[in-house]
Symmetry: C2
């Protein structure tokens, strides 16, 4: 009976020790959950908003946003205006603000139309960052996107490599949009400054249409039979120029450098009708947008988002970088 | 006796249940530790390296680095050349590379001297990012720092506010350093473009010395008795110009705008001898440097750091932003 009583006491003691340890472990992990780890809370929802929501370009931005959400244990939602229509994007944003999400990442259709609705979100305490296309006059905390001038320079360097530094080249672009103008300018100035054997003979407007781009390229070839290369600053036109190059019966290939990494463009790099394309850091735009929103929502920055004055709690501008896609590395760029 | 046996069984069952639950909980948290959360591993060590390691300026960069280390559960180390000596900084870096840390964040003493040793680290598989002062020709993955031209513009805007948009102003700077030249240029061009009532009458070299800056300011006041403001682009000189302004016996105050947030500068803003100073996003430089290194070390980026070509796994440039410190918000800037 004494032995049983002793066992009894030992078991009760062990039991109590486990209970105490368990409770202690739980409160410890809860504390570190709140103060140390980068882990979201239940129902913490972030929204990505674009225009032209159907286009392939946003997929990689969204993948970055999703990957960050998984790493940070939060949920996300993707919304977009289906058309190229500022009023539609404003309406979508109004609906999102009404639901008070933990943060919004926006690609602005143009630099000015969304300023009012962005400021409304920030004034309501909802963190906003901009990616891909900015709205410089708004209260958004940060802009993450491509340095388009540098992208144009990189295209010029690649073109010079392909042409051995000499020949006539043309640009096919969308002159009405700032990002495309910057790409054209970077290309032109790099050619003028670094490649005396090359000359930009024309800058044409393809209105973002592959058929127009094909037609324009053929007309350029009529006018300049020795045209050596075309830099197309937007995704749709690259395919058109690539088709024209593929159909060209001439000893010297027409070199086409395109923009972005749509599947069609990558396929044409494999086939050889497009020589290279400029890939943007789209995954990084989405990934770091969510990281920034998370840090704002959880007040993890110094200075705090709530600090007085025109203080910046986050980096204000992020150049997400570009890379040049060639036949050698094209396989790395197909969506995984 | 039956009752005792029953209690016995219940206790043993409860005990076993706790053991099982405890083991299960542990293996669960270990799984998520590895695959989902942004949590480092035992012995994962990152190093921050600067020059002039004793100066106050780095403290907030290091605080950001430390805060990110706590959030990501990794350890860090701070190393620096004590002098303004490139060879010393290279030697320190060689020692660090030999220890194979998980990543290195470097503020480069000048844009070119460290390129070889930075590339050596990257080639050895050690991620490197640069903060505050870059080395553009190196293989470092990213640069995080101030847009100094924009900082100069912000100083001009603040000066115009203080002076009601009119009066003679001077710049005291370090003309030999690129970041200081950019601040001066941003200030001059903003005044020329936006404030026709203001005029930059002099740009002087204080050699980074408070006494020289005080002396220069007094001489400028002799030459231009109606001098209304001085913008000092570096931390030491701001105090000198502030002292000259404090001792000036004149009805109209001489307005001094300084740079950085040393304790002395903040004290003089409280006292009124300095009107404002430009705060850099130093915490953000350190915080996001460590985040970037962590993401490179754990191969969390798309594209991967190991991808072919000149692919950029991270944003290549980060503008960490600035803010203007005034008597109204100066209390927020004392180190916490």
């Amino acid at each position: 009976m004494k032995k049983t009583a002793l066992l009894y006491v030992v078991l009760i003691a062990a039991f109590l020790a486990y209970v105490v340890q368990h409770v202690y472990t739980n409160s410890e992990s809860e504390r570190s959950f709140r103060s140390e780890e980068l882990r979201g809370e239940l129902g913490e929802n972030y929204v990505m908003v674009t225009f032209l929501s159907g286009i392939e370009y946003w997929k990689s931005c969204l993948k970055g946003f999703e990957d960050a959400a998984e790493a940070l244990n939060v949920s996300i939602e993707y919304r977009g205006a289906t058309q190229y229509d500022a009023r539609e994007q404003i309406t979508v944003l109004e609906q999102i603000i009404a639901k008070k999400p933990a943060g919004i990442a926006i690609s602005a259709l143009d630099p000015t139309s969304l300023t009012g609705v962005i400021d409304k979100a920030v004034d309501a305490g909802i963190p906003v960052v901009l990616f891909d296309s900015g709205a410089p006059g708004s209260k958004a905390y940060s802009f993450l996107g491509t340095d388009n001038y540098a992208a144009g320079e990189a295209a010029a360097d690649r073109m010079a490599d392909l042409l051995g530094g000499k020949g006539k080249v043309a640009v096919v672009t969308l002159p009405s949009q700032q990002n495309h103008d910057e790409r054209t300018q970077g290309f032109r100035e790099a050619v003028a400054q670094s490649y005396p054997g090359m000359r930009v003979v024309a800058v044409e407007d393809d209105k973002g249409d592959a058929m127009v781009a094909k037609d324009l390229t053929e007309k350029l070839l009529d006018k300049y039979p020795d045209l050596a290369g075309v830099f197309v600053t937007e995704a749709a036109g690259g395919k058109g120029a690539g088709e024209a190059a593929g159909e060209l019966e001439r000893e010297e290939k027409l070199r086409v450098i395109a923009f972005d990494t749509d599947k069609d463009t990558l396929d044409m790099i494999r086939e050889g009708s497009i020589s290279a394309t400029i890939a943007q850091g789209t995954w990084n735009m989405g990934y770091w947008s969510l990281q920034y929103l998370f840090h704002l929502h959880h007040d993890l920055t110094i200075p705090s988002p709530a600090a007085s004055g025109d203080v910046s709690p986050l980096p204000v501008g992020v150049d997400t970088g570009i890379s040049v896609v060639t036949p050698e590395n094209v396989d790395d760029y197909y969506a995984k």
